[in-house]
């Protein structure tokens, strides 16, 4: 007899069942995304149930995007989705790898559990394995930041590695250049908001470019100059519609229309003084975050000032960065205001839209990438790929160490773990061997996805590593083992985060022996 202690509808899974459901859930997620791994990985179509026609369809290769879009009901699977999201936020790429590695570790753990090894013992083994894998990775990491030419070559290589598994693979050299240039312009900042990506359908993907100036997707007011040389720019965040009285509770109360007219005139006067104050700063371009009404717009036109309204928060911030000006909201103390400057401001046409281009900016810490492509899905995926590459690059600028890809690092770590396992007495060493095997699965999956004989290749790769050729990796285009140094480069931070996140998640899932699911909340329709 058992007592009912939970709500109706609540379920509980215990011991073996709980473990099984967790491991199966995690492996299912791993299997789901693993075919997207590597330069020969495939894409997935995601169709949302609510989206109609074209809008709901997303074609992607990005692990985080795929996992985010799937509604899951398995606790362990949700943990994996979470690590992939964290990987995305932290490094920007490797979102698939982290899930696949965690799933592979758990697959090995399942075998160990079948041998009646206590989960905590397995965890102990995995911890030792993670530590020695990490050490091996750190020893293998190199930094070329001092050598400018080599450093740029490394960055390009990292960008190519990231992009090669994405839709942009065909033009990866071009896009690698674009991404590296864009990131180097940030001068060490990791704030990717400063790189604006403008997507326009039409044209070819290879027609995309990094603009030498900054492009703002806004229009210039009517009757105002379309092009200005030697621009002095004021970036502002101020109301240019009706400048309301801000004192709380103020209210206009008049007794006749004459008075009303007077108040109106006063309001207009106020706006005119504001415009005059702004004009008196000696600027010829005025960019405002908020709306500019017709009346002040006309005033600006009269003063020969180019006025751009409704540039949103991001636009204003980027522009301030590019031109070196301050975002101003008060204009009474001109001596304290810092104006921005750039060589030219002009209207340009991209696709069929008019935009404003700020060329030859003074500070230039922000930039614009213009993406072209045949379809919306293509552009969206291209944007995600570019974002991944930019994110990895910007993190690499901060943590300049690099490691080699193509399964090289994994094999390196696997070997280190295997060697360490030999010196550990007890059952922990079995768990460590399992961990090493899970790491070796990564190059195997890469090879499988490329349609190659993975068992043969991985064995060859392993032999090469034991032979002392520690920079050997897979070349998935040749289908052979090659020296990947300088060819397939990856960020050290990325690889480390993949290793640590995956083993932390696997550990967390392994520790669980009970799943209690509360009764789902009743939804009212």
């Amino acid at each position: 007899m058992s007592a009912q202690i939970f709500n109706e509808g609540a379920t509980q899974e215990r011991a073996e069942n709980a473990r099984l459901s967790n491991i199966i859930g995690a492996i299912a997620i791993g299997d789901l995304v693993k075919s997207t791994l590597g330069p020969k990985g495939m894409d997935k179509i995601l169709q949302s149930t609510s989206g109609r026609g074209d809008d709901g369809v997303v074609v992607t290769n990005d692990g985080a995007t795929i996992l985010k879009s799937i509604p899951l009901d398995n606790a362990a699977a949700k943990v994996l989705v979470n690590i992939s999201k964290v990987q995305d936020d932290e490094v920007g790429d490797g979102t698939t790898s982290v899930c696949v590695l965690a799933a592979e570790i758990l697959r090995q753990a399942e075998k160990l559990l079948d041998q009646r090894i206590h989960p905590q013992t397995i965890i102990d083994g995995f911890r030792l394995a993670t530590a020695s894998a990490r050490e091996a990775l750190e020893n293998a990491a190199v930094s070329h930041q001092d050598d400018e030419k080599q450093w740029r070559e490394d960055l390009l290589s990292i960008a190519r590695t990231t992009l090669s598994s994405k839709v942009l693979a065909a033009d990866k050299h071009k896009f690698a250049e674009i991404c590296v240039d864009a990131v180097l312009r940030l001068k060490g900042s990791t704030n990717l908001d400063r790189i604006q990506i403008i997507k326009k359908t039409g044209g070819k993907v290879s027609g995309s470019y990094l603009s030498d100036g900054f492009i703002l997707a806004k229009k210039i007011g009517v009757n105002q100059p379309r092009s200005i040389k030697g621009a002095r720019v004021l970036v502002a965040n101020t109301s240019m519609d009706t400048d309301k009285v801000k004192v709380f509770g103020a209210k206009v109360k008049v007794s006749d229309t004459a008075q009303l007219a007077e108040i109106e005139r006063a309001e207009r006067e106020k706006m005119r003084t504001k415009v005059q104050k702004i004009a008196a700063l000696g600027i010829n371009v005025f960019v405002n975050r908020q709306l500019i009404y017709n009346w002040p717009e006309q005033l600006f036109a009269d003063a020969g000032i180019m006025a751009i309204e409704h540039a949103d928060f991001d636009g204003v911030e980027r522009l301030a960065l590019v031109t070196g000006g301050e975002i101003a909201s008060s204009f009474d103390t001109p001596e304290l205001l810092k104006l921005g400057a750039c060589d030219s401001v002009e209207e340009v046409i991209i696709g069929e839209d008019r935009m404003v281009k700020f060329g030859g900016a003074a500070a230039g810490q922000a930039c614009t990438i213009v993406l072209r492509g045949g379809t919306n899905q293509m552009l969206d995926e291209a944007e995600r790929s570019i974002h991944d590459a930019l994110a990895v690059l910007s993190q690499t600028v901060v943590e300049p160490r690099i490691v080699y890809g193509g399964g090289c690092s994994e094999m390196l770590m696997s070997r280190a773990v295997d060697e360490a396992a030999k010196t550990v007495p007890g059952k922990k060493s079995i768990a460590m061997e399992g961990f090493a095997l899970a790491l070796r699965q990564m190059p195997a999956i890469l090879a499988d996805n490329a349609g190659l004989d993975s068992a043969d290749l991985v064995a060859k790769l392993r032999a090469a590593h034991y032979d002392g050729k520690v920079t050997s990796g897979l070349d998935l285009f040749l289908g052979d083992i090659v020296d990947v140094s300088g060819k397939v480069t990856e960020s050290f931070k990325l690889k480390r985060q993949v290793l640590l996140s995956a083993s932390e998640a696997a550990e967390m899932i392994l520790r669980v022996d009970d799943i209690i699911r509360c009764a789902p909340r009743q939804r009212r329709n």
């Binding site: 007592a3 949700k78 936020d89 004192v247 103020a250 209690i516 509360c518």
Partner: protein, 539 residues
């Protein structure tokens, strides 16, 4: 079910309980047994979480959110238990959590074991009240015994190694034992930084635990200062301020807003213009007042008007807006500043000071935090917990809280008993011995109490993959033979069962509280003999 009615002197039935059909009722031994059954079911769930080799539970909330935890109180409270007795056990672990902060799993397991023993006694026909009396007596003996076997551990500000070991015992069962030493050290340092050693008191308000996903657990750190999860109000303000003089404001940089209801009517152009001037001047005075008092950074609980923000930038005053209530208090404590409610009240001596205030950005999503370091008053600290996923960060935060509670308890009372269930086993022996001298029926109940105490070492041994009965009998016999009360279950296979050598300590007050609270609850459950459940909410 038998209807509850009685008859009057003419034989006509009348109902005592109204709306009989809508109510469920259980009575007598049947009720008590049903309760015991429920309590056992609950205790069995958390039983496997006990000890350094205990496992975790996944809890899925009604909305599908996931919590993974090893902490008894967390598991119990998130289980959404419907059963009345189950709810009492939830309360039990919560009161242990509120009072002590650790040992929330052990207390539930103990209560479950006591009830299990009570069931056997009930089967023998012993009255529930006699059982609870026996438990009460036994509990007194056990608690007195704990006092006797407890050791005083010496510690001082410079010698914290024993505090550190206690924190380690608490963290041993949690996932953070990956970075065991580091987290234990963080807990000890955090508590010692804020502890008032003279009054033997620790104010937990001064310790803030911030979690941030990303990185790994090893990146977690103790910051001697305050972390505010905000950024500077204007993107172009400097990201770092050295030798900061901070003005802490609880008034917005906005036009004044009188609290009394009022109405301001503009009836002429002149008034309109005057109001404009007033508005502009207000902003300028505000900024001027801040500048004049010598501040070089502003923290404000409220928002800024765009114009004020721009003026602040122009006057080189970096500012943080929308700082939450508790955070602004913490900031004030840490920097020795005063919270100023009006601009007019600002003066130099009310400013807080800190060595360095900087904005730190994490990851690729442009999230940032403001770190205030080298504060004038080192009493406020923040622990920044990092980890690979959200669940792990949450669990690490909970574990850290438990460990800090343990350290706090030791500062209040530095007596310890030995872990690894050594204290339970030795109490069990003591109770058993005393029981033989009791001449009444309570003797049986007292023996059962001793057996219930044995359930803890059994669970520990079971969770660690050791043979439970064998281990228990071995340790017990050794305790009696050698007369050492610090022998316990060697969960980690360290080779010795002497917990003194393994440095596994628990604060005495924590153990004592466990015994007292669990006995109290069991007595309460045993006293219930009638349950009436009103089912009016069923359709």
């Amino acid at each position: 079910m038998s209807a509850v009615y009685t008859t009057d002197e003419y034989g006509r039935p009348f109902i005592i309980v109204r709306e009989q059909d809508k109510k469920a009722r259980t009575t007598g031994v049947e009720a008590t047994k049903a309760h015991i059954m429920a309590a056992k079911a609950v205790a069995n769930i958390v039983r496997t979480s006990l000890g350094p080799r205990g496992l975790d539970k996944i809890l899925i909330s009604p909305d599908g959110d996931i919590t993974i935890s090893n902490d008894g109180a967390t598991i119990m409270s998130q289980m959404a238990i419907e059963n009345q007795i189950g709810k009492l056990l939830v309360e039990l672990s919560r009161s242990q959590d509120d009072e002590i902060g650790d040992g929330t799993t052990g207390i539930v397991v103990l209560a479950g074991a006591l009830l299990e023993q009570a069931e056997e006694l009930l089967d023998r026909g012993i009255h529930p009240i006699r059982i609870s009396d026996g438990f009460e007596q036994a509990c007194k003996i056990a608690v007195a015994h704990l006092d006797r076997v407890s050791d005083i551990i010496p510690w001082s500000k410079d010698n914290t190694s024993d505090l550190f070991r206690c924190a380690k015992t608490s963290l041993g069962s949690k996932i953070v034992n990956k970075r065991h030493d580091q987290f234990a050290q963080i807990a000890v340092d955090a508590i010692l930084a804020v502890a008032d050693l003279e009054r033997k008191d620790v104010d937990f308000e001064l310790i803030k635990v911030e979690g941030k996903v990303g990185g790994e657990m090893a990146d977690s750190a103790l910051v001697h200062g305050v972390i505010i999860d905000k950024d500077f109000s204007h993107p172009q303000m400097p990201k770092e301020v050295k030798d900061a003089k901070i003005a802490i404001l609880t008034c917005p940089f906005e036009p004044p807003k009188p609290k009394t209801k009022h109405k301001l009517e503009i009836t002429s152009v002149k008034e309109f213009e005057e109001l404009q001037r007033y508005e502009r001047e207000t902003f300028e005075t505000m900024v001027k007042q801040v500048k004049d008092c010598g501040a070089n950074i502003v923290a404000c609980q409220w928002g800024f008007d765009d114009e004020a923000n721009s003026l602040l930038l122009q006057h080189k005053l970096p500012a943080i807006r929308w700082v939450g209530g508790p955070e602004i208090e913490l900031l004030a404590i840490a920097t020795n500043g005063r919270i100023v409610p009006r601009f007019e009240d600002l003066s130099n001596e009310k400013l807080g000071s800190a060595g360095c205030i900087r904005e730190v950005t994490y990851g690729t999503t442009n999230e940032s935090m403001i770190i205030v370091e080298d504060c004038a008053n080192s009493k406020a600290v923040t622990v920044l917990v990092r980890g690979g996923n959200k669940m792990i960060v949450d669990e690490a935060k909970r574990s850290l809280h438990d460990a800090m509670c343990v350290v706090r308890n030791l500062i209040i009372d530095n007596r310890v008993v030995y872990g690894g269930a050594a204290a339970e086993i030795s109490s069990s022996i003591a109770v058993e011995k005393e029981a033989d001298q009791v001449s009444s029926i309570e003797q049986y109940a007292m023996r059962s109490f001793a057996r219930a105490l044995d359930a803890i070492p059994m669970a520990l041994a079971e969770n660690s993959g050791l043979p439970p009965i064998e281990t228990l009998s071995y340790v017990k016999s050794q305790q009696i033979k050698q007369g050492i009360s610090s022998l316990g279950v060697d969960c980690m296979n360290a080779g010795t069962s002497d917990m003194k050598e393994q440095f596994v300590f628990d604060p005495l007050i924590s153990k004592r509280q466990q015994f007292l609270l669990a006995t109290q609850l069991v007595k309460m459950i045993l006293k219930i003999d009638d349950v009436i459940v009103h089912r009016s909410d069923e359709q």
